[in-house]
Symmetry: C2
Subunit: 204 residues, 2 copies
Amino acid sequence: MNAARPRTRIQRRNVDAIRAAALEVFSAQGFRGATLDQIAEVAGLSKPNLLYYFPSKEAIHLDLLSGLLDAWLAPLRALDPAGEPVAEILAYVRRKLALSRDFPRESRLFANEILRGAPHIEGVIGGALRALVDEKAGVIRGWAAAGRIAPVDPHHLIFSIWALTQHYADFEVQVRLVLGPGVDDPFPAAERHLVMLFRKLLAN
Amino acid sequence: MNAARPRTRIQRRNVDAIRAAALEVFSAQGFRGATLDQIAEVAGLSKPNLLYYFPSKEAIHLDLLSGLLDAWLAPLRALDPAGEPVAEILAYVRRKLALSRDFPRESRLFANEILRGAPHIEGVIGGALRALVDEKAGVIRGWAAAGRIAPVDPHHLIFSIWALTQHYADFEVQVRLVLGPGVDDPFPAAERHLVMLFRKLLAN
DNA sequence: GTCTATAGAAGGATAGAC
DNA sequence: GTCTATCCTTCTATAGAC
């Protein structure tokens, strides 16, 4: 069975259910912490049935990671060199924060992977991601050199955007516990705060 | 055997070796990913010997977490309401970044725990940590109200400091891969960048 | 205090009936 | 395609000799 190319409706539905269940369990428990029993139960399948669609636990994990990488890099890829610098960077911040709000499990899946030393995506990080970051860093450096934004280290600016936005997904439990039960949605205030932060950082 | 109160030199040395080994393995593999075999090997002890000093794997993990919480909150606790606002906050940023540089495994131990929903330290997060954050947020709010720093959401300011500094420990692998082999120590540039960022955010 | 040996449970993966 | 039963490995933890 080739999980990447399901032929029938049932196959597609089951593969999707497995992916959704695996995302749920892997993102919450990490790779070693997750069990096929848990994933199978969440997916509503038996464990052998799950292994009929994917050859191994690791194959499910890899399928999730590689399937998500594109979506994860899209916001940075969309940074337009021809756009207005501050607006472009703020739009990137907003897109990235929206990912944390709408896809926190995907964010935690990556966080788990990076924390463990990125054993499965080391190549992508040091390859495609690094190339993309270098390209966009060049754009930002150009903007700074032209005096269109304040001088700033472009790589660390990008790290800051990642850190500040992903924090609200990866450390969501802590954010909610510290803010207390009075705050049911921290994202509106987070967005106002981050927009102000980057506006001031980039202002000339 | 009471791990918290070792009586002899040998006991103290072994308990310390176990703590160091467990920190190494738990921070890199997560709780479930770590095995007593790995910890015992790093500590230079046999597995049963390890379990002579600690009653269980979970007990070692809890011992590490609770032992580190104080050190982890110290930088925020040191924020002085009587000090000069911008200098106090920048000093906090520097102390926190130094923790990421000097104790990255401790940072990753906490990150792993929070990612998994903070099962062992939920009480501390929603209790002592929340109280401390609220207290210091009050101080920061007072500074803003007095016009001594720019108006800013104090809780999200503190989250920003956590996110930006811990990123360099928790995502160290990614930072190094993206910066490439030309950069052997990202921390000096990170500190310059973060100091500029918070200086601008707080400037009136 | 430390070791070898092992119990007992959990988890990944497979066999084979249907 | 899906299930029950099961194999085999890994892992936590304990027993008991020294």
